[in-house]
Amino acid sequence: MIFDYYPGCTLNTKAKELDIFARKAAEKLGFELREIEDWQCCGAVYPMGADVVASKTPSVRALKASQDNGRALVTLCSACHHVLKRVNRDAAEDAEFRATLTAYDEELEYNGGTEVLHFLEVLRDKIGFDKVKAAVTNPLIGRKIGAYYGCMLLRPGAVMAFDDPESPTIIEDFIKALGATPVTYAMRNECCGGYISLAEKEMSAKMCHAVAEDAVRRGAEELITACPLCAYNVKKQAGDILPITYFTKLLAEALGLDGEEAKANA
């Protein structure tokens, strides 16, 4: 099985682990992430204004490339996933948006036909968590792990259609498949402070503390995330409370893909 893959700016730089372990794990699970050519940064935040079109064009180009390839487009970063899924919906439903795009550049003619999938959705819906479980050679027995969803994977639920936005289970099911024990806590779909953490460290610190303390109160000993910004904020602001890693790193560990070896081979 081959999927098109959109890594995004951060996965080639500060969040290399999120990317490398996903590619390695995919190989072991029998599918390939094929990076699309010449992709551009998605912009990291979805532009909500109706008249903002130019900053959605990188997403449209990626989505269209995937449509031409005849494959679903897979993302790993929560922000890329959020932006691509929402722009895809705009292209499918907003005729004015489509008209502005093609008036700007004929090559941007696109109707939202690409299926956008998060890597976790691939595991759940295309591979199956049962198959993931069967491929685990190093079950993470006894590990108590909290899923940190954050905002962008889940909301707005009507567009993201990722999981129940208020009571998600996909990452908990993923943790179970790896042999570990998922810890459910209330703050798992709350914000880490997002982009505001650039200028407002205190605000972000407060939010990350609330998330980490709640997770610990419920018995979590570590957190996993799909978002480089959640990882950065929690590590920086609440790293002394409990550690946070990328879900792909956990997956690679359970699949017996030794960390250093995976990195060296990448």
């Binding site: 700016c9 935040v45 532009p47 982009y195 505001i196 200028a199 407002e200 950065y232």
Partner: protein, 129 residues
């Protein structure tokens, strides 16, 4: 400076949400993680727009404290998207000369080695349009 009635209309149109459906229940503000930092809370923000008080909104701290976490959007029982109204006013502020939320000089002092590109890209989009 635009005519305020015209500007209100533009902002509402650009927000892609129907603010008139708001029933002032306050659910959005109850869900908002930035509530304490905002001078005009999400439910009040909707009311300001309905009154056409754009001037009050353009100088509001709310523009720069909203995280775009979409908790308000998810939880509004009337299908209103306060985050989109805030973004629409934020865009109006940014588009007026000198309306940016941050300067490039401000950013330099905040950098560190671990900082993901995602954060810088997002911050520039939000603070500078």
């Amino acid at each position: 400076m635009l005519n305020p009635a015209f500007e209100t209309k533009e902002i509402l149109l650009n927000s892609r949400t129907i603010a008139e459906k708001c029933m002032k229940c306050g659910r959005c503000s109850a869900a908002c993680p930035s509530y304490e930092q905002m001078d005009i809370r999400p439910h009040q923000f909707v009311s300001y727009l309905m009154r056409g008080d754009v001037d009050g909104l353009l100088s509001s701290t709310t523009l720069w404290k909203c995280l775009s976490c979409f908790a308000c959007v998810q939880r509004c029982p009337r299908g209103v998207a306060p985050a989109q109204l805030i973004e629409s006013v934020r865009l109006a502020a940014i588009r007026q000369k000198g309306g940016d939320g941050i300067t490039v000089e401000d950013v330099v002092g905040e950098l560190d080695d671990e900082m993901p590109q995602q954060l810088l890209v997002a911050a520039f989009r939000k603070y500078k349009g």
